[in-house]
Subunit: 396 residues, 2 copies
Amino acid sequence: MRRQNLSVVLGTVAAHGPPSHTLSRPLSRADVAGRVGLTRAAVSSLVDELIMRGALTEEEAVSGGRVGRPGRALSVSDEGPAGLGLEIGVTHLGACVVDLRGEPRVWRRVERANVGRTAGQVLAETAALAAEVEAEAAGLGLRVHGRVLAVPGVVPNEPAGRVEHAPNLGWHTVGVADHWPDPDTVPEPENEANLGALAEYWNAEQAVETFVHVSAEAGIGAALVIDGQLFRGARGFAGELGHLPVHPTGVRCACGARGCLEQYAGLAAVLLQAGLGPDGPGAGADAVALLAERAGAGHPSTLRALDRAGRALGLALASAVNLVDPDGLVLGGAYAELAEWLLPSVHAELAERITVRPWTPEALRPSALGRRGPVLGAAQTTVRRIMADPTLLPAA
Amino acid sequence: MRRQNLSVVLGTVAAHGPPSHTLSRPLSRADVAGRVGLTRAAVSSLVDELIMRGALTEEEAVSGGRVGRPGRALSVSDEGPAGLGLEIGVTHLGACVVDLRGEPRVWRRVERANVGRTAGQVLAETAALAAEVEAEAAGLGLRVHGRVLAVPGVVPNEPAGRVEHAPNLGWHTVGVADHWPDPDTVPEPENEANLGALAEYWNAEQAVETFVHVSAEAGIGAALVIDGQLFRGARGFAGELGHLPVHPTGVRCACGARGCLEQYAGLAAVLLQAGLGPDGPGAGADAVALLAERAGAGHPSTLRALDRAGRALGLALASAVNLVDPDGLVLGGAYAELAEWLLPSVHAELAERITVRPWTPEALRPSALGRRGPVLGAAQTTVRRIMADPTLLPAA
């Protein structure tokens, strides 16, 4: 009960926004009591505990021109408790630290060819990056309280801490803790698409409650958010949109099946189709930036490749809409950065194929987060947990 | 709190099974108190209320050979509160009354050509059937407490009581109450596939918690049960498996799109493919029985048609598995009755296309309920609601 009340008080202060973002007077203890419907004494005790745990700060407020004694202003700490997000991509490592307000305070992205190296090597380098970033955050007064690692692979519900299969990294059954040098800082792995979807839900200006989020890096990842909660499936494998058969007798996929979406709308397939394959002019470059640049310059084969990818994506998303009936579809990750050229054909395909239920084109939109989504979601996961249960933070 | 305790006590007696089905001694008030962890006095008061509301009966038990005074035996009433399920099909009307144990006590199925008639005519006949069946149930001492109507169409979450679209009946935006003669007995419409899936969950010997249920009557209906709850989608349109594009450039569907599953695995398509089309030898007969008979006799075009349907169904179900990650797939309705000839090709397609997660063939199985599922689910819906909240029953 007290745990829930702590969460309500912290959430009320958070919802009011940080002092610099709000035009209205900051909240005092009395304001919070008025909003949450508890006594001032009860709220004061909860606020004291939240301050002690480092979740809230309180400072002398300037009077907003109102009559009477100004209350002391409460705000969610931008020092102290923090969340660390890590990310392993096919060609990069990423890290992000967010404060308890959810604001990113440290970002890091380093290019690394992670394919062809052992999981142990890649995780050791990720741990080194994590240590650097935690040190940098400590310089800002931030103390990392939880660590989540975004991976381009399948993370089953059970057992915890294991990456079952990450085809584009060549990983099979990798226990993160088995390769992490410091047992005190082992991150919890989670599928990058799931984290991207959660980041979208937590950060979008107008998030809907039930949506399908689809993104591309090496593979295609999708995730379902249902009533504001990530739906992981019976075993943690939900959202494998990349292996929906869009052309049942089409080209063979690396997974063994034929005509999977990934063979038409995956980045490797788009690059190949655009004449920018592994040995082409794009070798070694940022493939997404290259595609965007060529498409922007009107390069015909790139435009055709993106149109074809959009068609295939629209076809798979039509299946998702018919099955799951979401309120929205979000193009995330690399797709968000290529949305200008993908959206027309995705829209066309959806319009043709969603016929038994109403569909509005506005329900499809690109994410504003682009490729930062997964690592941001990884970092914010810890903050969300603390907001839901502030007793996770040690008392000072 | 009391409401929940009433539900727990009723559920405990129900879980023990009716006296005739159990080898063990029937439960007494003391037994129930022991199981639910409440005092005997508290349980007695709850039992008294459940008896007064007609949910439980209590009678002198024969001593099971144990020492001591035999308790009086509690059982869930098989008289009194009941649920009525109704069903409108393309060529029939159905009705079922279940008692509070969930046992069907009255079944009725009448052949009726419902296509080409107005919703008003069809609903008036359904109401007449309902009245007959309620009268028959009354003769068994059953009092219908709630009414649910299974329809082969889309029933949105909002507004309540409306069938948005039932293409195979030719219905658009039909408010059931607008056409029902007696305002006191208006049933609540629900999509037949949803009710079939719930019936499966409630009645299967070994139900899994998260599964996709697909059935065919005129159209193809599917429903998702997630953690034991029906998932209706953001607006009530989830489960439109029949309009998943299985052959994107394939034949035009009645819905306007191309290559929908319904054009390959819908009953009309299978009949046509089997040479049993509307003007063929099967005109007017029970199409499902006819297909089963021909297939059983080794009729080559029927076998080919069912193989082709199974392939298409497997393709669409592979998409569902990749997206939703269920623990099981159930073939219901007409598919259950044709399972012998559909399963081999469904299995083959699933094995080829589910590659990124483990899949066991045992996860796919036919429903034991066949075409009775939806009307049974409709009737049991009321019983389930009463079990969850016995105060829905009026005090005698």
